[in-house]
Amino acid sequence: MLNPLDVVKVIEDNMRRYGFPFPVPREAVYSWAKPLRLPDRGSTMLYTGALYQLTPYIASIVEQLSAIEGSRVSGLALKLSGILSSLGVSRLIVRPKGDMASVVERILASIASLLERAEVKAAYPYEDDMYSGVLLYDLGLDELFKEHAVKVYRALKSRGAELLVTVDPHTTHIMRSVYPRYVDGYDLEVKSYLEVLAERGVRLVREPSGDKVVIHDPCLYARFENVVEQPRMLLRMAGFDVMEPRRSRKMTYCCGGPIEGLTPRMAKMIAKTRLEELREKSRTIVTLCPICYVNLRAVAEGDVEVIDIALVLSGAKP
């Protein structure tokens, strides 16, 4: 097993150096938006917080950590502080995993296009689409988180942001419910794009296809941000029959993602439990969060398909 304290140290070190939990090229965050030519200033701002864009890198790192976790080094890792750093984990220039980077680009482009269809004129902050710092908060690295949050807030304000339209549950939660407690004078309104689409009544209406999809509620949307009915309504508008797993809505079950970097093995066990429960209802599993997407996809076998809701709503899939 890995020594979680070491993993935390590696993340802290990377955040100070790169502004990300692990080294990724900055352009990887905003290159998806270049062809769209969105305005780079505006009061309504599409803010991704980089989480979707990080997932291909996370998947690659987790694969490497899994190998360390299961190896003989792992016993050592628990005993010897700093062994992960000495193995070079902190300096890994990780490559995005397989086709995931292109999937992520399609997801983000779909979100932008859905907002356009809902007649939301959103700007995009490009270089200032910074990582929200969510992992720092989750790991209790409060001082570093606060420092980082102030930077993010100032950057977004400097581009005229008043309403942030977020794209994932972690960033939605951190920007809406956590930043106000850490950033003095914080005055940004924050809405998930799913809330915006539901409010604006985006024109998705299609004939019922009779296709069954099962919805996997992400924990933060369901239990902390009350984004529960909107995705269901949107999926139904798009013609799908939405199935509920045994544990859904407020009592949804985690995908295991938040501990994938600390103990990939247990994260996978949790994901498997959840995947089994979801597939009982449909072979098409709709996720609303990039972390859930990566974790459930990693354990999906055979004819089970895990798809991000943005792709489903935009008609790209299934």
Binding site: L78, L139, G140, M251, I259, R265, T273
Partner: protein, 398 residues
């Protein structure tokens, strides 16, 4: 007591590789989740009662120090002997002094006893000590620690349990009949309880207005242990004190409901030692039950935790263990994800309060922050927020 988070991580890793352990937990957690879910759906009044108990516990925390004093006076008024133990060592010393050595001691289920390491201590004084809750007895025979608050042997399959009973109690058990195993343990423990010098219990709640100890159970071992031996010692963490007897009974009822066993088979109210005044109105203590009742109020970091506005929320906990069964991490680790006694979401916080916040914080990194514990807690403790707070304590310390 001390513990080391890295050692616990090593044990967690071993548990992840142990298929029998995983299978036992998977089965128990699924059954428990479904049972409680169905029970609450059937009985709306229990959900109402939870809200009421959450309010009772909230108000109790605000006046906890005063409640401790009130309880102390009420215990004296009913001829129970109260003590206040500042820490685990003092609790052991007080109880060790009352028990002495060369005695036969039976313990009803008590997580507080595990918290202070009571069984081992009493044995070290030269006493014969037996756990009487079946799950606790199995844990004693295995030489491990309770793996869940209300179901301590949750990690064992029937085969493991039967093997332990056969080998360690010298009882011949053939086949895999749980009924036969229970019968064998009943006979064995009955013999011990009947001859015991001292019975030790915990408490689900203690009423400050009357000094009444309230205990809820299904096995009836608590009834026997608290009423058969001539001396009863109750070890009661101070956070279990509530203002009135009615409050205390409500706490016990919610605790039972959230373990999925409702109605509880037994609720005991014990206010003082047994007595009779049937002959010429002369009050004599020690009728059919104990002649002495000693109540040790256990602080062990709880009053200090009141000063931490986040940590003090934990004092609402009624030890139902719901958060453990609902936690996606705990269902793979049981209380191996925890300190010497407690584990899982609520258990890490109790470990922080009673043992070491930094080491508990290091273990808290495994918390997903998913909030299922928050959503399932009958008294609305923001467990995921407290666990994040512990992570931050651990991060600051390094």
């Amino acid at each position: 007591m001390t513990f080391n988070a890295l050692q616990a991580y090593q044990e967690i890793w071993e548990a992840l590789l142990d298929e029998e352990f995983q299978e036992a937990l998977r089965r128990a957690s699924t059954i428990s989740q479904v049972r409680v879910e169905e029970l609450l759906a059937e009985r709306g009044e229990l959900v109402e009662l939870c809200r009421e108990v959450a309010g009772i516990k909230r108000r109790s925390i605000d006046i906890l120090e005063e409640l401790v004093e009130r309880a102390y006076r009420s215990l004296e008024a009913v001829r129970a002997k109260p003590y206040l133990a500042g820490d685990a060592e003092e609790a052991r010393r007080i109880i060790g002094g009352l028990v002495g050595s060369g005695k036969l001691v039976v313990i009803a289920k008590s997580m507080a006893a595990a918290e202070v390491g009571l069984r081992g201590y009493l044995e070290s004084l030269g006493n014969e000590v037996w756990e009487t809750d079946l799950g606790e007895l199995l844990v004693q025979l295995e030489g491990s620690k309770p793996m869940h608050t209300t179901t301590p042997a949750v990690h064992m399959t029937r085969y493991k349990a039967i093997k332990l009973i056969s080998e360690k109690l010298g009882v011949k058990l053939e086949g895999d009949s749980v009924e036969e195993a229970v019968k064998a343990v009943r006979e064995f423990l009955r013999g011990k309880i009947a001859r015991a010098d001292v019975g030790i219990s915990g408490a689900n709640a203690l009423a400050a207005d009357t000094g009444a100890v309230v205990l809820v159970e299904n096995e009836s071992n608590i009834r026997l242990v608290t009423s058969t031996p001539p001396i009863h010692i109750a070890l009661v963490p101070v956070d279990k004190i509530v203002p009135t007897l009615l409050d205390a009974v409500k706490v016990a009822m919610v605790q039972a409901a959230y373990t999925g066993l409702y109605p509880p088979t037994y609720i005991s109210i014990i206010a003082g030692p047994s007595s009779t005044a049937d002959i010429e109105r002369v009050r004599v203590y020690g009728a059919q039950g104990p002649r002495e009742l000693h109540v040790v109020l256990l602080d062990n970091g709880r009053l200090k935790a009141l000063k931490d506005p986040i940590l003090k929320e934990q004092h609402r906990c009624i030890r139902c263990g719901r958060c453990q069964y609902e936690c996606p991490v705990w269902v793979h680790t049981a209380n191996k994800w925890g300190g010497p006694a407690y584990g899982g979401p609520m258990g890490l916080v109790w470990t922080a309060i009673t043992v070491d916040p930094v080491e508990a914080g290091k273990l808290s990194y495994l918390c997903l922050g998913c909030g299922r514990c928050d959503a399932s807690c009958p008294v609305e403790i923001p467990l995921s927020t407290i666990l994040r707070h512990l992570k931050s304590i651990a991060s600051r310390s390094s």
